[in-house]
């Protein structure tokens, strides 16, 4: 398809665990273990999962901050891992990221002018006056006053800092922006404002987002398509409405049930999943979720489920998807 802006094929990233006398790898952390998906221009993909599920590693690989173990990534039709440094630098312009924590992602010793202006300085020649004007424009675009150009990050609140990080990501008019938990460390009010801003920017600038979050309600608000990850694997993938209305995987269901909403009456109506995410060094056999899954059976321990197509691009990997419908009556 011509419209596909990002295509990820069977991407794997293993980290060696070194030990022994010659620091040979004794085990592998399978942080990302065979992820495949595709994105169209102007789409928002919500990537959901608990910490330790490999979301951040996936992003690092996509942004070329880490080498993949195997797999292919095509950005705008170009193979990202088969490219010389020069073209890579050009591609960087089109591929930007907004990090999770606005307190650590902005250099505290630099003026906003130099933080937001850095990508411009790196990729284009530009006089001081032009830079100030451009950074001012960018700040206005993200809803901050122009006077912010000559301030330091610590003079801004968490939400405002995240706006600065967004301005920096947009400085080179990228095509794809990765939002790595953009609102998980700011309060609800700023979160709502940031999400609103991101939505508007997407419309006016024709951006494509990968939105990473552990909070399904945030993803729900923005995403066209949702991918749920667990321990390096994708367990459910499909159009947002489908995933919400016809949630197939027990893990996705659990994620939904965990969110306290205003309709929650009392603590008992919130569901929890027992235990925590197992280690990715020796992931559980069969279905990786079987250690915490409420409906796990013997088969889950033994065989790894394959992605089942549920129609309309909605896929999920669980042994009970087909049977659930049949075995219900």
């Amino acid at each position: 398809m011509a419209d596909s802006i990002l295509k990820v094929k069977d991407l794997k990233k293993y980290f060696p665990v070194r030990g022994g006398f010659f620091s040979k790898p004794v085990a592998w952390v399978k942080a990302v273990d065979g992820v495949t998906f595709e994105m169209e221009q102007g789409e928002v993909l919500g990537l959901v999962g608990e910490s330790g599920c490999g979301k951040t590693t996936l992003v690092n690989v996509l942004l070329n901050l880490e080498e993949p173990t195997s797999g292919e990534v095509y950005f705008d039709g170009l193979d990202l891992f088969d490219m010389d440094k020069k073209s890579l630098r050009k591609i960087r312009k089109n591929l930007q990221i907004v990090f999770q924590d606005p307190f650590w992602s902005l250099n505290p010793r630099l003026l906003v002018r130099d933080i937001v202006g850095e990508p411009i300085k790196v990729h284009a020649n530009c006089s001081r006056e032009q830079l100030v004007k451009k950074v001012g424009d960018l700040l206005e675009m993200v809803g901050l006053p122009r006077s912010g150009v000559f301030k330091y990050p610590h003079e801004f609140s968490g939400g405002e800092r995240q706006r600065i990080a967004i301005a920096r990501a947009l400085a080179l008019s990228p095509k794809l922006v990765v939002l790595d938990e953009p609102t998980s460390s700011i309060d609800v009010l700023s979160q709502a404002q940031i999400l609103e801003l991101l939505k508007n920017l997407k419309q006016s600038l024709g951006l494509t987002y990968i939105l990473i979050s552990h909070d399904l309600s945030v993803v729900n608000y923005m995403a066209d398509r949702i991918a749920v990850m667990y321990l390096g694997k994708m367990v459910e993938y499909g159009p947002a409405d489908d995933v919400f209305d016809r949630t197939a995987h027990p893990y996705t269901k659990a994620l939904f049930a965990a969110i306290p909403t205003l309709d929650t009456e009392g603590i008992d109506s919130i569901a929890t999943i027992e235990g925590s995410v197992p280690s990715a060094i020796n992931p559980p056999s069969g279905c990786r979720f079987h250690t915490r899954c409420p409906m796990a059976k013997e088969i889950c321990r033994q065989r790894e489920p394959v992605m089942v197509d549920l129609g309309g691009g909605h896929r999920a990997a669980c042994h009970f998807i087909g049977k659930d419908a049949k075995g219900a009556c």
């Binding site: 650590w104 250099n107 010793r109 630099l110 850095e118 100030v132 000559f150 920096r168």
Partner: protein
Amino acid sequence: MTKSPGIINSIKPRIREIRLSLYLLGRNRLTRLSLGVVILLVLTALVAPFIVPYPEHIEAETNPVDKLLPPSGKYFFGTDELGRDIFSRVIYGTRISLQTALIAVGLALLIGIPLGAIAGATGGMVDEVIMRITDIFLSFPPLLLAIAIAAFLGPSLENAMLAIAVSWWPWYTRLIRGQAVSIRERQFVKAAKAIGTPPARIIFGHIVPNCIAPVIVQASMDIGGVILTIASLSFLGLGAQPPTPEWGLMVSTSRNYFLNAWWYSIFPGLAIFVTVLVFNLLGDGLREILDPKTRKI
């Protein structure tokens, strides 16, 4: 409208920062005091030749008639064995001590900071090589190393400065490297990498400015230590040579007359003591204001 406000505005935040720093410095009484004394010392050093009562006593001129006189209205700190005014010489000595200490520390910083930053930010083989060299230097006691180098280069104030710089830089390298290793993992460095910022710019534009604070603190404390080391070297005859009015040298010469002319050793010694103390106190105060936790007022 583009030009002038831009320039004015770009100066403003710096001024605000400086004002804030001064405010924070002034909050602690001891720091305020030490800052005052340091400013006084610097001023003294600048105008020393013009304010001393006997400028001719600074260098070679002798005055045997008034030799080894106790402190009096004429000679505040008394006189030495050649009849020179100790007050004039101690005042002028401020200039020598501060100047040499600043240059020596500056040189050490100039070597130490880039090496440490490169080692910490790059890691791997580069880090290993730089840090093992640093370890070799660190395995000698700094004073002993300085003595050895000064002895090798020959006794003079300039060589003493060099000797100190050479024996001092590894401390800064280690300090900066430790900081740089943790800063390297910060998200803003990752953000800069994601933008495509070249490595040199990441090291000197992002990493160094963020690990400089503890080094400034250390350096300001070290100025005291370096003054002491220069005095020690001069005391041993490896630093300043007579008739330079260097405090350590003066203490050294005064040894022979200590029993009947206490003022000869006490006043230069006191000058060393006060200077070292206030620089240490200032360093402590700086540590407080450069600590981001206390800064977040």
